[in-house]
């Protein structure tokens, strides 16, 4: 009985909302030019999958992520730069689509935080040194 249940589970088609079309041509295929593929790969790791929102499109198995990889590779192969492709996507989905923070004002704290933390650390160290000198 238990074996039968397991077999039934294996038979069941997961209720994924996926189409019957095969993945896009460049979704799971590397570009023949190694330099272009490396640039595409680096970009894909920094673009957020719109379906499974915690993953990059390089990691995601969602069909839309596959279509986005196809789009990235096609555009890289056609000579576009990663930043052009990134801004094309940002124009449509907002800065949310990129993991790499942009230079918009809302992201300034992210860029400044390391500096501020370093400064605070420096102040602590300075105080510590002074205290030890006095002792």
């Amino acid at each position: 009985m238990r074996i039968l249940l397991v077999l039934l589970v294996l038979l069941a088609v997961p209720a994924f909302a996926d189409s019957d079309l095969p993945p896009a041509y460049w979704a799971n295929r590397q570009l023949p030019n190694a330099g272009q593929e490396a640039r595409a790969q680096a970009l894909m790791e920094e673009l957020r999958c719109l379906v499974c929102q915690g993953q990059s499109i390089a990691d995601s198995d969602a069909e839309l992520a596959g279509d986005m990889r196809d789009l990235v590779r096609r555009r890289i192969a056609a000579g576009e730069t990663p930043s052009q492709i990134r801004s094309w996507l940002i124009q449509r989905y907002g800065t949310w689509v990129t993991y790499r923070p942009t230079n918009e004002p809302a992201a300034w704290p992210l860029w400044l935080a390391p500096l501020v933390l370093l400064l605070i650390g420096a102040v602590f160290v300075r105080r510590r040194i002074r205290l030890e000198r006095k002792a």
Binding site: D20, D67, M68, G94
Partner: protein, 176 residues
Amino acid sequence: MSRAVRFAPLALLALLIVALVWRLAKPVDTSVHSTLEGKEVPAFALPAALPSKPALNAADLATGKPHLVNVFASWCVPCITEMPLLLELKRQGVGIDGIAVRDRPQDIAAFLKERGDPYGSIGADLNSNVQMQFGASGVPETFIVDPYGIVRYQHIGPLEPKDVAIIRDKWASLRK
């Protein structure tokens, strides 16, 4: 150590708890909104998804009339639930154009036969490219395009009964 400093961790903890409870009670909206609202429809040209219906391209959406563009797919379950509402909108005179994402003609035909067919034209978006050009992150999504071809409204996810009046009014207000 002063009293204030001694209680600082407790105060921080209280602050953290307040922040967490607040976010739990008021969850973040995780849907990805298209930034196309107020901008021109992206230049696209899709082939006809069915031999019996016209194809869809950007120029078809700037004809002096407002258009409803429904991004859908025969393999999309929520698209089934919104179909009666699209049919109702059509009955009320709202013209609807469809973009079928990653779909096959025979599947679309079967889907429309079973669920009803509100579409004046359907474009076949085989690699989700036009879906991405619209800034749509899934199916279904519905856009209202004004008579000049400017995107005016985006609805993410399946329509609900309350949305019918909202969409119809929005659509009617854009008529010249």
